[in-house]
């Protein structure tokens, strides 16, 4: 069974499964360069002084990269954890509660990280 890609996107019985799959793949691809750059930054900054870290993270290119990484990762982990919850949690009530918690966690992580980077960029 084969269908063309544009035909498949956004369809399916739930009208959402392909979108989930697609966003998981999209963020996975985006994560590859973003996370690699992020790890390089992390490794060079590990153990450095506050002033040195602030100076680096405050640079526009670094800040933009950090924010892009955070956004992509946050969408990615929300989708990823959603699948795990759906795989293992059978009780409907628990599932809904955990899916909500997952969304809240992802948004909280994203907001806190982006806020921190912006605060560093625009001056403490």
């Amino acid at each position: 069974m084969r269908n063309s890609f544009h035909h498949i996107r956004g369809l399916g019985s739930a009208r959402s499964g392909t979108e989930h799959f697609w966003m998981q793949r999209l963020t996975a691809v985006a994560n590859i360069p973003l996370v690699m750059a992020f790890v390089v930054i992390l490794v060079t900054l590990a153990g450095r002084s506050h002033a040195a870290v602030i100076a680096t993270l405050g640079q526009p290119m670094v800040a933009i990269l950090m924010i892009a990484t955070v956004l992509s990762v946050v969408v990615h982990i929300r989708l990823g954890m959603q699948v795990i919850i759906e795989d293992y949690v059978n009780s409907e009530a628990r599932k809904i509660a955990l899916l909500m918690a997952n969304t809240f966690f992802s948004i909280a992580v994203g907001l806190a990280a982006v806020f921190a980077v912006l605060r560093i960029s625009f001056g403490l």
Binding site: I32, M36, V39, L42, M66, M81
Partner: protein, 133 residues
């Protein structure tokens, strides 16, 4: 169908408790385990960024925590998990194109993920340490 004597002759299948653990199985599980580890590991990143954005005192605290032996081990483990998950993810992306699914190739990919993740994690920290001098 109703004859029970023929039913008992049939093999009981699938043998859910009788299997050989393969590398591909372990690596499949590892992708999920690293994913969950990284999920909660984002809290470390948030702590680090928020500490940096609030005060030098807060930042010195997290620096001290991750400057310890255990802290460094956690950081190294985090980057290893990250590379492991990244390469495992690339494996998924290759599978999505319909390639690399045969028994030989999938084993080779699993091995490449394991070896590659260790090499990358060691390499990036080695370079980091050298760059810092």
């Amino acid at each position: 169908m109703t004859d029970s004597s023929t039913r008992t002759e049939r093999p009981l299948s699938p043998h859910l408790s009788v299997y050989r653990l393969t590398l591909t199985m372990v690596m499949s599980g590892a992708h999920r385990i690293t994913g969950v580890t990284l999920y909660f590991g984002t809290l470390i990143l948030v702590w680090w960024l928020v500490a940096a954005a609030t005060s030098p005192r807060n930042f010195d605290l997290i620096n001290a925590v991750f400057g310890t032996w255990i802290g460094r081990l956690v950081l190294f483990g985090y980057t290893w998990a990250l590379f492991h998950h990244m390469l495992g993810g690339v494996r998924h992306l290759i599978w999505d194109t319909g390639r690399g699914l045969g028994p030989v190739e999938s084993r080779r990919l699993a091995l490449a993920t394991l070896v590659g993740s260790i090499v990358l994690a060691v390499l990036v920290w080695a370079i980091g340490l050298v760059l810092r001098g």
